[in-house]
Structure formats: structure tokens, C-alpha cells
Symmetry: D2
Subunit: 300 residues, 4 copies
């Protein structure tokens, strides 16, 4: 059974539906979803990790390292697309009262101003909640701005789609399971980890980045997070290209383990876009193996 950061009808729910036909179990917070994995209540959970319009990113970064070890098993990237959903029979001209979450209202401001200049927009606790409210036959609201999954879930009619002003935004989700066996490399993988900076050590971040650079490992994301101990103490949440079983990644991880007071490995998993990294000259597994064999031959 799979869990997700709910409620039903959100983009996280939509992400879940790309990997299962199950309903899934909605949890009220990222922490509760991840704890359910830790306790075995669900086998995996889908939670947002990056740039979501519905929040949750910092929570995920922090919660992933807050208890028993978990591992990311896959990632899902979902376009942030909104539609206008009504009860069957309502047409656009009849829409006077729109209900949605503040973030969604902000992202669809231009479309609403152009197409529903007379309508009043009211903020709900979530876009999914807005859809649920509009679905009530006696609701005082005529339309919800929400994800398609919410429109479907509550049996609403779609009057317009892709009404967001900033087309092209996406949210990235991860599928989290218990730590343990790492999935086999596919050749187009990503590795997520958290590296803590040595305190009072100027140049510590430079040192962290060099561990990757000198082994030809590209980073696709790096974000600082306060460690919650003292002012100016950070850790870095990092996604790099490649898999733990690729030697350039393994040696970079060893380097981090030596220069950082703490490193968390959060999983190697297939990239959503299936793009294979460009591996520079000197950084392939074959070249690592040949170098190790050479040094071994010297030491006989």
C-alpha cells in the first residue's frame, strides 16, 4: 500500500497516480507520510521535494533525515497545471464566485482577470478542498481553480485548462521507501544526499563541491538547510547525477564522508527524464577500474 502527502486531489495525489492505480493513503503532513513508511504502515510514500506550489519542500528535506533511515526509490515530475472546474451545467458566463488556494489564485491571476473580470475569488485551505466545496450541490461557490485530479475526484466539469500564467512550471516528487537494497543502476540515475559542513571552517562548501568536481560528477540541485544548532551552521541537500554503484559517485561519497562531520545517503534512483549523464574522459567505471588495477599492480 502506498501513502502520500494529501489530501486527495492535490498534485501529490496526481504524482501518485502516475505510478499506481491504487487509491493510496493520504497523510496530513510529510512527517506523517514518512513515519508511516518507517513504521511499515505503507510500503512507500510520495512527497513533494522541490519547488512545489503547494509547499512541503523544506519539510521533506528535513524529515528525510529526522528518524530511521529512509531511501528515495524514484522521482516523479509533474507540470503545475490548473483548470477551472464547475458543477455540471454551469457555463463560464455564470461563474461569479471562484474558490481556490491562495497560491493557485496568484498563479492564475492574469487568466482570471481576463476571463472572469467580474468574479470574486475566495481563498480556501487547499485547491482540493475548494473542489470538494464546489462539488456540494448547495455550495455558494460556482467554480474551483484546482488540479485536474481534484476536478476528476469530485466529479466536476472542466471549463478551462492550463490557465496558469506561468506555463512550464513543474513540481518534483519523490517516492520514499525504507532504506535497504538500492535499485540497480539504469545508466540514467540520480543520487540524493545531505552533507553537513564542518563548523568554523572557511571554504568548507568549496571543499564539498570539489569532491564532486574532481570525480566528474555533476550536481543537479544543491540547497542549504540550517542545522538548527547555531547561527551560520548549515547542511547541504544535494542531488547529483549518477548511481552509488558508479565508481565516480562512490568515490565522491567516500570523499564527503572524510571531509564532512556527517553525510546522509538518501538513495540512488532512476531519473524521471531518463537523461543519461555525459561522463567526461577519465570518469567512466572502466577508467576507475583500470586506475585501481594499475595502482594494485605497483604495490605488489
Amino acid at each position: 500500500m502506498l501513502g502520500y502527502f494529501g489530501p486527495a486531489g492535490t498534485f501529490t495525489h496526481q504524482a501518485l497516480r502516475t505510478i499506481t492505480t491504487e487509491d493510496g493513503v493520504a497523510f496530513a503532513s510529510v512527517r506523517e507520510a514518512l513515519d508511516a513508511v518507517r513504521q511499515g504502515a505503507v510500503s512507500r510514500a510520495v512527497v513533494p521535494i522541490e519547488n512545489s506550489v503547494e509547499g512541503g519542500v523544506s519539510a521533506t528535506l528535513d524529515e528525510l533525515i529526522a528518524g530511521a533511515p529512509l531511501a528515495i526509490k524514484g522521482e516523479i515530475v509533474i507540470p503545475v497545471e490548473f483548470g477551472l472546474y464547475v458543477r455540471e451545467g454551469t457555463d463560464l458566463a455564470a461563474v461569479r464566485q471562484v474558490l481556490t488556494h491562495g497560491h493557485a489564485a496568484a498563479q492564475c491571476r492574469d487568466w482570471l482577470a481576463t476571463n472572469l473580470p467580474e468574479a470574486t475569488v475566495t481563498e480556501a485551505g487547499s485547491t482540493a478542498g475548494a473542489a470538494a466545496e464546489v462539488a456540494r450541490p448547495d455550495s455558494r461557490y460556482d467554480a474551483a481553480v484546482c488540479a485536474r485530479v481534484a476536478g476528476d475526484l469530485y466529479g466536476l466539469t472542466e471549463l478551462a485548462y492550463q490557465i496558469e500564467d506561468n506555463v512550464g512550471a513543474v513540481t518534483r516528487f519523490v517516492e520514499v521507501g525504507p532504506a535497504g537494497r538500492v535499485p540497480e543502476p539504469t545508466g540514467a540515475d540520480k543520487t540524493t544526499l545531505v552533507a553537513f559542513m564542518r563548523r568554523d571552517h572557511s571554504g568548507a562548501l568549496l571543499e564539498i563541491l570539489e569532491q564532486f568536481a574532481v570525480r566528474g560528477v555533476n550536481l543537479s540541485r544543491i540547497e542549504s538547510r540550517p542545522t538548527k544548532t547555531t547561527l551560520g551552521s548549515y547542511c547541504f541537500s544535494i542531488d547529483c547525477e549518477g548511481h552509488l554503484r558508479e565508481k565516480r559517485v562512490a568515490e565522491a561519497l567516500q570523499g564527503l564522508h572524510r571531509v564532512c562531520p556527517q553525510v546522509y545517503f538518501l538513495g540512488s534512483y532512476p531519473r524521471a527524464n531518463q537523461r543519461r549523464p555525459e561522463i567526461g574522459v577519465g570518469f567512466s567505471d572502466g577508467e576507475f577500474a583500470a586506475a585501481a588495477a594499475w595502482v594494485a599492480s605497483l604495490s605488489r
Copy 2:
């Protein structure tokens, strides 16, 4: 007139009181406080920037670059210390109902469990609001956990102080004014800036850090912030040691201007701790001037 991110009775208010005897104007959000500076309604505003227990940090980092240019004129570091405040005449044994903000409750959990094991702790919207409520003669709450400034403000009696479990936590605030004349260097200054990473350029952060390293400039804070355009696009909010008018800092800023698509300079100002940076061999103003004079002499 000075503004601050209110309400009255918070640590931000306490920070304000370290630099003025004025009352100050409380604003409901960091944005409103900073916009008041932009519009000239207040000459300066005090807002939290780092690791605050009351939130506001990300908001400050984002709002500082969101409109007309502002500049940081000074910093204030305040210990995060809580006390237990009651109406005059209440003693510890009589405290049954405690009101405070959730963060403060969390930070004083051990003290409350040890000293008030029977008491019920209720969450208020802010620690200052808790103090205001407790100050009402007919309040159903006996005590507030809040900052000393709130106890003072509402005429409460302090039963205990420094009751936080994690002694030593601090919050850092900045005093923000309109961009313009930079304060003179004191020899113990800090410079704050925001550097945007070139897109799709692996190693861009390494390149940013090298601009500082090669000129001997230490960083005291570096935090990533999403740029809100595409997934994986970041800018970095950075504090470095030194002043715009020190040549190593000026040359590092020039370097950033060349390698980053966008750089914001947010001010050079005296450090709260008045600690002078250690300037390595080759990085003093005199050495920069001598190097420039030498190159000029070659080019005659």
C-alpha cells in the same frame, strides 16, 4: 521613525530597542515593513534575517530584492531567551494554565515539564499575544512564556528567565534603509549580497565561491534560494567578511558581476560582534594598491 516586523513584544521588537529609545512602528509582515522603507514612511526597519524562532527569514531574503533597492545598515544579534510571566501576585505554585506560541513551547519543553508538571500549555498565535492575553485581569491563563520585552510591555511579573532548553540560540536581525551612501568601513564589517547562478552551468556555484576564495574573502553565511523560475534554478544569499570599500571585497564583487547573470549588493555594515577579519598575506588594501601600481607601471 523606525519600523519593525511586529507585533510589539517579540524578539524583533527587542532588537529594535537595542538601537533606539523610540517606540517604533510595528508592521504585520516583513514585506510591509520593507515597503514602508521604500516609500519613506519609516527611515529604517528592523527585520529578522537568520535562524529566527519566529520565522521570517526566507521572507526577508526574498523581499530584500523584490522591489526598489534597499540596503542593510547594521545587524543586531539577540539571544533567544524566554521567561515565564504572570500577573502580579501569582506565584509559581499557582500556575495551572500557560499560554505561548508553539515554537516557544517546544523550546521550553524540559523546563515546563520539570517545573510545571501539572500545568496545561495552550498555543497562542504569538508569544507577544500570549503576554497580552495573560495581562488581562480576567484572563483564564495564569502565565505566558515570552520574551522579556513582552513581559515588560504588558506589565507582567517575571517568575523565571532563561527557561529555554537549548541555551545559546540567537536570532540575527538587520536594520534596513534605502539604498544609497554606504556607511564608512569600521574594519570589522560584513557585506551581504545575492548572486544568481548561470543556468545549466555545472560548476556555477564552485565558480561563485572561487571569486571569494581567490581574493581571500571569508564567507560567514551562504544560503540557496529558489529563483521561482524553473526547477533547479537557484540564487545564493551570501554574507562575507569585509566592506565594499576594501579592495578584496570590491574585486570579488566585480568577479561575481562578470560570472553571474545577476548580483544584488545589499549593503556593507558593521558586524554585531565587532570582530575584525583575519586578512591573509596578499589581501590587504595596501597589497592590492601595490599590485595595481606595479601593473600600471608596466603599461606605461
Copy 3:
């Protein structure tokens, strides 16, 4: 009047003839040729600087910084091509005794073995001296292996040309004048300098290289030279792409001046191959000027 490291008939002489129709004054050593410039006896001197088959490179690197300041005004690259030269009337079948310098013999070994398997090869002090000897009507030698300039000079007949085994070798010469006005940039220039390493400073060479890398300046040559003080003390003789009046080069030179105990600037001059450097994003003069203007604007 121009000087050169003689004798007449060497590749250095050939290099001289590419820039003047004058005869030039031959000097017996690089030191004497450079001292003649220092004393004003000649206006400029041509000396070998890199990978010559006739030696002289280390001497040049050392002598350039050994006395009153000199500057490189231009470079000349000459293919290392040898021919077989005889007195008029001798044909290949008649060649029994070949005279040449040991280096030239080594470089033409295959050709001599194939085409003159029966001939005896004797070593002379120089290829030019070999040509002079062969030119004597009563010489016991039938042929000289030497540069074309020597064949011409001594009125010999060329029986074969480009007889060297390793086609494509070149020697690089520099035209050295008194320090003073640097030639105007052409857009395809080179700058030569010598940087001394700080003693007992692990990473000093890395620090030197970073001065160039961080300003986008490519190196085309770097060679260590002992400083002749203590074991393990080196300076580095460096050619970089670009001209002192290009800002990326000027800032790199300033950086070296700050981090090295001693730097010698030996000139900016047009490259022999007239290839313009690729200047990366952020490293053009316009970008340096814009960065300086930006920082100046902040400091008002």
C-alpha cells in the same frame, strides 16, 4: 642593429632573417646577446626560448631575469628542418663522410641509415660549423647536415631537404629589446612572465594557476626553474594568452603580484600564429569595465 645567438647559419640566424634583411651580429652565448641589448650595443636580439634542438632554452629563461629589465617584443617559430649540403658537383652516391652536430645526427638517423648506409657520420661543434668545414675545397668531409640558412651562407648545394625523422618539430625564438613601452595589443597576443613560489607553502603553484583560471586566461607554456637558493625552491616561467592591456591579464598579474614574493613581467607581444584567444563569457574587456563601473556605482 640586431643581435642574435650565433654562430651564423643556425636556426636562430634563420629566425633573425624572417624579421630583417640586415646581417645581424652573432653572439657566442645567450647571455652575451642579451647583455648587448642591455648595454645598447644592439637594439634587439633574437634568442631561442623553447624546445630548440640546439639548446639555449634554460639559458634564455634564466638570463632574461638576470640583469637590467628586458622585454620580449615578438616571437618567431621556425620549423626544425635539416638538409644535406655538399660542395657543388658532389652527388649523393659520392657522399662518404658526413659532418654535423650530434643533435642533428640523432634527428636524421633514419634518413641517413636509409640513404647513406655506407657513410661515416662525424660530430662537429655545430651544424653551422659543419657547413663551414664542408665548404672548404680541401675538406675531408663530403656533406654537412645543417639548416638551409647554413647551406646558403656557405654556398653549398642542397642534395636533400626535410630529412629529419620527426617532421613537424619547431623551435620558438623571441626578439628581446629593452624594457619600456609595451607594443599595442593586436588582439592575438601573448604575455610572458616569471612567478616565484612562496617558500614552504604547499599549494603555492595551485594558487598561481588559480590567478589565471579565475580570470579566464589560458596558459600556453609553464616551466619550472630552480631559483638556485635552496633545494625545492622554484620559479615558474609562464606564457599566457592575451596582452597586459587586456583587463583579464592585468588583473591576473595583479593577483600574482599579491600572492608571489616576486613576479617578473617579460613582455606582451603578437603571437607568431596570429591566433586570437577564445575569451569566455565574463572575461572580455567590456565585461571587466562594466563590473568595475557597477562596483563604483555602489560605493558612491
Copy 4:
């Protein structure tokens, strides 16, 4: 049987005597001495490698990689000290004719000018040859400036010692044997290697240096050598602190093998000065082993 770069009576001979009471076999060139090791004619040979006053350094660097693999087994550092040696019965006042090598004459110029202002100094082919000549009863020379070993060898009387102007100069010699079993680490070792730069790859030297820096390995010597193929093509002869069996050195060597077209390992051997390297945090064998164990544990 041990060989050395002769003749007898040089500093190389003196170096040999620090490790054996044997006479040793003198060879006329570094190449011949090393080839004798390759062919098994001698078990080891002592040759100068760094900053010698008697030449031989470049030859050694080049010859070490020119044929069948050899390995450095130890190093010997000898002070460059000269004395004035005469036939028994000659006193200082009687010295009119001094014979020595040009280098030694140059290095003792001040002493000779002060103490033998009237004497004529003649240049011999070597300081040892000068001693041999002076030892002849009918020699027209009264005194030799040479190493003590030469004075001893030829039964001369020492009139003065340490007469060199620049006290403190030393020459470094290496004891070279066939490649094969590397001596056990002593904790105070040095490793010698030669790394070839990738062609047309700006930043290649920076890349080489980073292989050491990122593993905390200090360099004690780095010298460029032309590769004799094309202009601007170099290899680097490098001494680093530590032993092949220390993991930071082994990983650095593996890194070089991956980024360089060719690397020669020339041996790990005890340092002459027995100084143990300072190993930074994160670079000890224990930390390397712990890092490898951690990564292995992730991959189960």
C-alpha cells in the same frame, strides 16, 4: 654491487659512501649507471636528482623513464661543501695555481679572492679530476678545490673546508633499483612520479595538482620537462609526501591515472630527513577505510 654516476671523488661518490662501505662502480653518465641497473650489472645505482652543482638532474629525470622500469629505493641529501686540497707539505702561502671545475670556482669565488688573491684558477673537467691532477707529484697545480671525498681518495691534505660562498646548499641523490617490490612504509616516506599533461587541454596542470590537493597530499617538488614531441607539450616530475600504500597517495595516483594520458610511478621510499608528513583531518588511512566501509554498507 652498487654503481654510481662517477667519476670517483664527486659528491655522488660521497653520497654512495653514506650507504655502503663498498667501493662501487663509477659510470661515465647517468644513462650508463641506470642501464647497468636495468641489465643487472649492478643491483642499485646512486645518481643526483635535484639541484646538483655537478649537473645531471635533467638527465636523471629523463633517463628514469626512458627504458625498462626502475624504482627509487631511497634518497640521500649531501651538503655541497668544498675544501682546498694540496699535496702534503704545501702551505696556503705557497698556493699559486688552483685547479677546479668551473662550477666549484664560481661557488668559492669570494673565499678564493680573499684568501688566495694572487692565485690563478684554472678550470678542469671535474673537481675529482682536479684532485687527481694535483695528486701527481710533478703537477704544475698546487691545490684543488673539490669535495672531501676526492681529497681523501687522492691522499691530499685539507688546508681549508666549507669554503663555498653560499653555505647551506645541498644536492639530493637517489638510490635506484629495478622496479618491483616497494619498500614497506616507514611513516616518513616520499613518492616520486611523472605525470604527462593531456594535450591542448587548458587547465591540465591545475587538474593534476587538484588530484593531490583533494586527497590532502603535499608536494615537495614539481618540475616540468618537455616531452620532446611538440612545442608546449610537458610532463611533470613530482615528489609527494607519503607512500603508495597510504590510501591518500594511492587514490591520488588513481586520479592521475584517469586524467593523464600517461603516469610513471618511480617509487615510494623513506625520506632522508625522516620527517613525517602532517596528515590533515579526513586524510588518514583510518578515515579512508571508514569511508570505504560506509559506502560499501550503503550498496548492500
